[in-house]
């Protein structure tokens, strides 16, 4: 493996201005109004709020390294990739890139619905920086990889979203860069296609390509990377081996607000302060064998009294499938009026989920599945089984089989008139 530097980042920082005039689509009128206000207000500087999406990030990445960029939502991962791919300029510091860089921050940007698959392959290829000649040479391989050869002359607006993404990824996969920046793009398509993409990335690795990979999927990070850079609130807080980075992520995940909740965590009337997963002997663990029983213990606190909160616990598989769900209300526990700190325990039935990684989401709703009071993550766990993986579905439970004598077969006509 060559030890040359592929990416050198020194003190990278990116600042955004938040506030009325810093938002998008502001019109000239807003500026006039703001200007007039500033005049009337005695030249008070503006209500701009500075926000550092990335601050003082420095690191070296050698050719052939595969680095996972990990962190919670809003930690600055995408900003980092955008700077490295030259889409946006850093406010401070600089980055130098040595080698042909390919960046996939979103699969299929630049595809046009009216054009056919074939036309889009050429268009998208050139957008990604490939030469026409190169696309022509690789065209058959691209189409074969995408598995949609029959539709290659159909306008892509008629494609299913899966087909669309397959074709786009296939083009991108054939870019053959020295340095590849990937932002969650592997989280597309069905599982079989995802495997194929990971296989392809491994092929790239064999050819000594450098890969920077942003993902929330710790399984992909584990399989693909040999180093993790961990970002927290825009700063590099860890740069080292993979297990250490994943550990940090799992720590930070515990209690973090779910990305899609639209209320401010500081205003939630009730919230989770901590959580533990324990086994039948009361020992905290996060690796369980298929068939074991685990107990989830949730500690909460309140800012105001809450009547009959409905605690909902969901197990989300690493590919985003909501695998199962428990609720105090459905399971028949009424909590009455809740004030102050407290603890609630959920004893789960024997685990029947297939071997994978799951994250636990906790939602607290007002009585009757109304308004969401709080939405947080409560850590992750792995299920282990030598056979049952996602090919077996979401869970596995044995069925009862028996051979039926011909006489006792139900009469088909019985249901009809």
């Amino acid at each position: 493996m060559s030890k040359d530097i592929a990416i050198q980042a020194r003190g990278l920082g990116k600042r955004y201005l938040l506030g009325a005039a810093g938002s998008r689509n502001d019109s000239f009128r807003d500026v006039l109004v703001a200007g007039a206000r500033a005049l009337v207000g005695g030249g008070r500087k503006s209500a701009f709020k500075e926000f550092w999406a990335l601050r003082d990030a420095s690191f070296d990445i050698r050719h052939g390294e595969n680095v996972g960029i990990v962190g919670l939502n809003g930690a600055g991962k995408s900003t980092l990739l955008k700077i490295l791919s030259r889409i946006t300029e850093p406010a401070t510091g600089s980055a130098s890139i040595h080698g042909r860089l390919g960046a996939l921050l979103e699969v299929g940007t630049g595809f046009h619905g009216e054009l056919t698959g074939r036309e889009n392959v050429f268009l998208y290829g050139s957008i990604l920086g490939m030469r026409k000649e190169e696309v022509r040479r690789k065209f058959d391989a691209i189409v074969e990889f995408s598995e949609i050869a029959n539709f290659i002359d159909t306008p892509v607006k008629r494609y299913s979203s899966g087909m669309y993404v397959r074709l786009a990824f296939s083009v991108a996969a054939h870019l053959e860069p020295d340095i590849l920046l990937l932002d969650e793009v592997l989280a597309v398509g069905d599982l079989a296609f995802q495997r194929k993409c990971i296989e392809h990335a491994k092929e790239l690795q064999k050819r000594d390509a450098t890969i920077l990979f942003v993902s929330h999927n710790m399984f992909s990070i584990k399989t693909m990377c040999d180093r993790v850079i961990y970002l927290r609130k825009g700063e590099v807080v860890y740069d080292g081996n993979v297990p250490g980075g994943i550990e940090l992520y799992e720590q930070d995940c515990r209690g973090a607000a779910l990305s899609w909740t639209d209320t401010k965590p500081e205003e939630w009337p009730i919230y989770i302060t901590g959580s533990e997963l324990i086994d039948e002997h009361g020992v905290a663990r996060n690796l369980f064998d298929f068939g074991e029983r685990m107990t989830l213990r949730l500690h909460y606190d309140t800012r105001q009294a809450v009547d009959d909160p409905n605690f909902i616990v969901a197990m989300i598989r690493s590919d985003g499938v909501a695998a199962c769900n428990y609720s105090t209300e459905l399971d028949g526990l009424s909590l009455g009026r809740v004030t102050g700190p407290g603890t609630i325990e959920l004893q789960l039935p024997a685990i029947k989920l297939v071997s994978e990684m799951y994250s636990i989401s906790v939602l607290i709703r007002a009585k009757g599945f109304q308004q969401i009071l709080c939405g947080q993550t409560a850590g992750t766990f792995h299920v282990r089984h030598h056979l049952f993986n996602t090919h077996f579905g979401v869970f596995h439970e044995p069925g009862h089989w028996q051979r039926v004598e011909r006489d006792s077969a139900p009469r088909i006509a019985s249901g009809q008139r």
């Binding site: 946006t88 630049g110 054009l115 050139s126 957008i127």
Partner: protein, 261 residues
């Protein structure tokens, strides 16, 4: 600061080609009349102009049949207006690309002013047909048409380089542009000849760079008048300055495109 990095644009020339190709393809793909639209639009415009200005208002037309007189100016003007529109608003219509993929941003306005050339070429076929109908044979000056076209493209690009970055920030540009273009058209000798402008106002009038250009087109295609060298020289220097300044301004502004668009 003066590092314009035009080499990067050259390295991405194939992307330029594909963006132009995409625009042209999409424009005609979903229209039942397809390429005919490139022809129908200027034809109807000229029909209306001929009726209103040629027949009712009896505008002079340099001794030519009014339809030929108007068409020779409507075609380059239509190209200019469309090139200006796409040059100035291309960044916003391709916002997804700007936000997610790196390439020299200059490619977008350049592609914007290039793609309407295809419409112009189809329009020229019609002009040739109409001239043939009226028995007008163009002189040697017709070989200068590409030159005028290049000047028109440069003007549209120069303005696009200034307006594009402003439009990224303030969408007001794209709302104002159609209106401005329309006013500008009537300030240019399209429906009337330059000779209709009183002598004492002509110098001021010629500060509009499109005046020299449109007159140049008419001269090349129909042999009317004489190119006014002085006003053309003024136009050219203004365009050159705006082009260089616009490129510098554009390169300076493009750093924040992905953040504000």
């Amino acid at each position: 600061m003066f590092d314009l990095d035009l080499g990067a644009v050259w390295r991405y020339r194939e992307l330029l080609y594909f963006l132009v190709w995409r625009e042209v393809k999409i424009r005609y793909k979903q229209a039942a009349l397809g390429v005919a639209w490139a022809v129908v639009q200027p034809l109807f415009t000229v029909l209306i102009f001929t009726t209103i200005f040629g027949i009712f208002a009896r505008f002079p037309s340099d001794g030519l049949p009014y339809p030929v007189f108007a068409l020779a100016a409507v075609l380059p003007w239509t190209y200019f207006a469309e090139a200006l529109r796409r040059g100035a608003t291309g960044l916003v219509s391709d916002a997804d690309l700007v936000r997610k993929i790196y390439f020299p941003r200059l490619i977008i306005p350049i592609a914007g002013v290039t793609s309407p050339l295809v419409d112009f070429l189809f329009g020229m076929l019609i002009l040739v047909g109409v001239m043939f109908w009226y028995g007008i044979v163009p002189g040697w000056t017709i070989v200068l048409v590409p030159l005028w076209l290049l000047i028109t493209l440069s003007l549209a690009l120069a303005i696009g380089l200034w307006l594009g970055p402003i439009n990224v920030r303030y969408r007001d540009v794209m709302h104002t542009l159609p209106f401005v273009t329309q006013v500008w058209m009537f300030a240019t000798p399209i429906v009337y000849p330059l000779s209709m402008i009183p002598q004492k106002w002509q110098a001021l009038y010629s500060l509009n760079p499109m005046v020299g250009i449109i007159e140049g087109f008419r001269w090349s295609l129909l042999g009317t008048g004489q190119p006014h060298l002085q006003s053309i020289a003024i136009s050219l220097s203004v365009i050159a300055l705006a082009l260089v300044g616009g490129t510098i301004y554009f390169r300076k502004m493009e750093r924040s495109f992905a953040d504000v668009i």
